[in-house]
């Protein structure tokens, strides 16, 4: 029995995701909305790594005469690394867009960005 049940991690991830969702839904400032998205991505990563650690198949191996149980894959971590890389790309492009919008409109309030409204 591991010291920490897996659902503790899942609960933390759920809390992070919900707070991120709330920030994304309520904030008017575009930068704040982006922060909410980052929080949600963090929650997803935490979930992936927790389930990788607790629920991926194990392999028995004998090393130096001792029998050990190894996790047979690192897929959860690989997934998290890809998510982090894409989050970095998303943050760079998103913030560049915010700066470009600020140049032309002098605001980053999402409610005032209504150029496409008929």
């Amino acid at each position: 029995m591991p010291a920490i049940p897996v659902w503790w991690y899942l609960m933390v991830a759920t809390g992070l995701f919900s707070i991120g969702l709330y920030a994304t839904l309520t904030r008017r400032n575009a930068v704040n909305v982006l922060m909410g998205v980052e929080l949600m991505l963090n929650a997803v990563n935490l979930n992936a790594v927790a389930l990788w650690r607790y629920a991926s198949p194990t392999v028995s191996a004998t090393v130096d005469g001792q029998s050990v149980q190894l996790l047979s894959t690192l897929d959860g971590q690989v997934f998290a690394i890809f998510v982090i890389a894409l989050a970095a790309a998303e943050a760079a492009v998103g913030l560049a867009l915010i700066i470009a919008v600020y140049r032309s409109r002098r605001t980053v309030e999402l409610e005032q960005l209504d150029m496409l409204q008929g």
Binding site: I19, L21, R28, V31, N42, G65, I84, L95, A100, V108
Partner: protein, 190 residues
């Protein structure tokens, strides 16, 4: 104190750090302070990665999120507005609470009740999933299973995994990063 209890206390502290950081993001009264709380939350999540024996990921988290993305966000704030300006009151918050609370309840119930098929030593090795003695040597040097496996071996395994079975995704992400880099420069300059 038993190591078990110590682990649980460490988990509680790290979870409190990451959740209070996230709470600070939505409660802070200026965008700049929000960003600082966000950094705290990222650090807490990095600590949770360490607890999950994903040390390399914790380092990546600190480098990319705490180091790069936070600085990017702080720069964006400083380039776009009056840094210490008052944040506007959150709009439409009752509606958002109405969406977020049931969502949270649903996920929490799922996390609590689902049968996760945990592999805590009970799963038989999958067919054909054998690892070479050489790899096993890298992964662990006689560390019993319940103590987990060593970090350096894990990093080697991770590198191999990226360059073999996940090679296509790895290359695609590399191209996406390059395009995002060029695109961000093109968009941000006049």
């Amino acid at each position: 104190m038993s190591p078990l209890l110590l682990q649980q206390i460490a988990f509680m502290v790290l979870a409190a750090i990451s959740l209070s950081g996230a709470w600070g993001v939505i409660r802070a009264h200026s965008v700049f302070v929000s960003a600082l709380w966000l950094i705290l939350s990222f650090v807490g999540v990095a600590g949770l990665y360490v607890m999950l024996e994903a040390g390399f990921l914790a380092v990546i988290q600190v480098l990319v999120y705490v180091g790069a993305i936070s600085v990017l966000i702080l720069f964006a704030i400083m380039l776009t507005e009056d840094v210490m300006g008052q944040a506007e009151p959150a709009s439409q918050w009752p509606l958002a609470v109405l969406i977020v609370l049931p969502f949270f309840g649903m996920l929490a119930k799922a996390a609590f009740t689902a049968d996760w098929q945990l592999s805590a030593g009970s799963v038989a090795p999958p067919e054909g999933a054998s690892i070479s003695a050489e790899t096993a040597k890298l992964v662990t040097t006689a560390i019993p299973a319940e103590q987990g496996f060593r970090l350096p071996g894990q990093v080697v395994m991770l590198g191999r995994s990226l360059m073999t079975e996940h090679l296509l995704a790895f290359e695609v992400v590399a191209v996406v990063l390059l395009v995002a880099l060029v695109g961000a420069i093109v968009i941000a300059r006049d």
